[in-house]
């Protein structure tokens, strides 16, 4: 009997220990509560020759139809071939889930991340302030620095230190379907007035939305507002506001809001612009259901390569954001260098992680340019044969650009950025309150 009791007790103890042991690891990897001990892969930090180094790299190009994912995978394969002792372990999630995941990881110790894609300027600032990023100054040789395009590093430098290097830049472009414009008997707009006229004519076409807004996703709605604000206020002043040098107070911000709301009232964005998000709006444009789309230059590639597209890509024209008569500068543009790969300060292999981060940024910059997805932040001999005509048009527009304004939600801190993205959505619904719009922006930004 006694033996039975002892055996029972032992069994219970064993079960307890194993369940707790397994349980903790599960919690550690699936959700980062502060109580769970991240018994992680951050074990030995020895990097002797020949020992296998595993780098955990995260990025947000999770969609298999995304060119950038394919290019990334190719670049990684090349790197692994050149560095036989390094294994790159890649994780992906799509944009919104990715941002959440990174936020959750860095609330803990982020031990599962060595190198990761992120946005610089205001978005990475909180990581820099929490000392979570590895400065790359020590790993940037003169040879590498020479290849970086001058003026492209602004979003990656904080407090005199460089935390990342540029990858590729984007340019906010108005994509117009010339075939639909011809059908409606109107011209592609260069000014706001022309935009209003064109929208009226396009709205008469059956089953066509003049302008696909994608306003269900806050950042899409924000693009449209920011574009008009850029024209009303001017690039320099918008940048000053985003830097915090001047308050959000110019009359131009109010006028831009009124213009967007007026366009909504006219039906330019369709009857329910808040119903469709980014993907729906993109889809509407490439299937000929929308005549205009204001998007980043990366969309040019999709027009040509997306298998679900039904329009003739050669009918698509890339133009600048329409001007507002008598205001702003034609050389202002929205866009810039904002995205890149960064290194987690807590990585076990800082040198290798830094080397890979610099490599992948350059590789993706080059690859993005060669496939017409973005403008490289690096100089070098690039193969321009595969550039699609739309991209070449955008390249022309960019060459005349002087002052670039990044997307506001990448420059501002996360709270005002989120509030801004939410507020711009009110422009695309009935009952828009302009005073509340301005007031809430002021209280969010002017802090």
């Amino acid at each position: 009997m006694k033996l039975k009791k002892i055996m029972t007790l032992l069994l219970v103890l064993v079960m307890m220990v194993s369940v707790i042991g397994c349980g903790n690891n599960d919690a550690g990897s699936s959700n980062n509560t502060d109580t769970s001990d991240n018994a992680s892969s951050n074990g030995d930090a020895t990097t002797s020759e020949g020992e296998e180094i595993v780098l955990n790299v995260w990025h947000q190009w999770s969609n298999d139809t995304n060119e950038l994912k394919r290019l990334y995978d190719e670049a990684v394969a090349e790197y692994e071939a050149d560095h036989p002792n390094v294994v790159i372990n890649t994780e992906t999630l799509d944009t919104e889930a990715y941002k959440t995941k990174i936020a959750a990881e860095f609330a803990g110790s982020a031990s599962g991340i060595d190198v990761f894609y992120y946005w610089g300027a205001g978005m990475a600032r909180k990581l820099v302030n929490a000392d979570a990023l590895l400065p790359l100054d020590d790993y940037l040789t003169d040879e590498v620095n020479e290849r970086i395009l001058p003026g492209s590093t602004g979003a990656f430098e904080y407090n005199g230190q460089t935390y990342s290097v540029p990858m590729f830049s984007w340019y906010m472009t108005l994509f117009a379907n010339k075939a639909l414009f011809d059908q409606a008997g109107t011209e592609i707009p260069t000014t706001y007035e022309e935009l209003v006229t064109a929208s009226e004519k396009l709205a008469a076409l059956d089953g066509v939305t003049p302008f696909a807004a994608g306003a269900k996703d806050g950042w899409n709605a924000a693009f449209i507002y920011q574009a008009l604000a850029l024209r009303e206020v001017g690039g320099e002043d918008v940048n000053a506001m985003l830097r915090g040098d001047v308050p959000f107070s110019e009359a131009g911000y109010r006028q831009a809001a009124e213009k967007v709301s007026a366009l909504y009232e006219m039906g330019t964005f369709g009857r329910n612009p808040l119903e469709s998000g980014n993907d729906d709006a993109n889809s509407a444009f490439i299937t000929g259901k929308a005549a205009m789309r204001l998007m980043g230059s990366w969309f040019a590639n999709q027009v040509y390569t997306d298998t679900t597209a039904t329009i003739d890509p050669d009918q698509v024209v890339a133009v600048n954001i329409p001007m507002v008569e008598g205001k702003g500068n034609a050389s202002d543009y929205a866009g810039g260098f904002i995205e890149s790969f960064w290194v987690n300060k807590g990585t076990s292999y800082p040198a290798e992680a830094a080397e890979f981060a610099i490599y992948i940024n350059e590789k993706m910059g080059q690859a993005a340019y060669e496939t017409g997805t973005g403008f490289s932040g690096w100089t070098g001999d690039f193969d321009e044969s595969a550039l699609n005509p739309l991209f070449i048009q955008i390249k022309e527009l960019l060459s005349e650009g002087e002052t670039g304004v990044l997307a506001w939600d990448t420059s501002l801190d996360s709270e005002p950025a989120t509030i801004h993205n939410e507020l711009v959505q009110t422009l695309f619904a009935d009952g828009f309150d302009i005073d509340a719009f301005i007031e809430e922006h002021e209280s969010a930004i002017n802090q």
Binding site: T35, L274, E275, D413, T418
Partner: protein, 297 residues
Amino acid sequence: MDRILSNKWYVAIFVLPALLIFLAFVIIPIITTGVYSLYDYSGIGEKTFLGFTNYIELFTEDRYFPDSVKNSFILVAASLFIQLPISFTLALILSRGVRGEKFFRTIYFVPVVISSMVIGQLWMRIFKSDYGLLNILIRTISGSDFEYAWLAQPKTAFYATVVPAVWQFIGYHMLIFYAGIKSIPTDYYEAAQIDGASKFKTTIKITIPLLSPVIKTCTIFALTGALRSFDLIYVMTGGGPNHASEVPSTLMYTNLFRKGLYGYGSAQAFFIVIECLLFSLIIARIFRRSEENASIL
């Protein structure tokens, strides 16, 4: 058996593993959340102690919180007064022994096991303003007059998300009721039949009272589930358009992961926990009398 159960040490040891897990993954995170809610915290870096400021701000200054709580109560009402009665009726019918009883049991349970993401995507297609099933149906029946953008207009957005939320778990509650009904001894029904009671009277006087513990369980599940509801609403509307369909959990999500307000978001999370706890206690109280009656029988 009695010897083991009467010895408190044995009871303690066998309960210990589950208790430890419960403490580690439920109690301690709740306490930690409660602690975080007293700070101003961005998720990474410094914490600043604020006391109850977050809660005061939540109840007095937050523009969307009162409406989100109202929305969650609407969902509770729909769950308790639409979902549970439907589940109960279905369970009654099925337990009476219709043809294909097993088949229907499985069919009704299928939505429960389908991922909420999938259900959200499905119902988004149904509610779409241009080619959604619902609008096509309306168009065929009564012309374009009653077509509507169910998910994109503030007036209907939340109610549109209530429909799949209620629909999804009907099978779940039905199964619980079904099991409860099946476990009632048939002697009572026979006795009632002999006394000349109608089917309806039998249901009211015998089935429902005896099912009291089961009804209590389902009520608590439905209620707390509705208060905590997140995934369907997030997938279908994201809390929009313009905060029309926010519930406390979607607001909390935005505050935590978009705005980086971990302290404030934790306050909202803690509020939801306390709210669920309070309601559960109230329900338990309400059902106590009838439970006692049921166990006597």
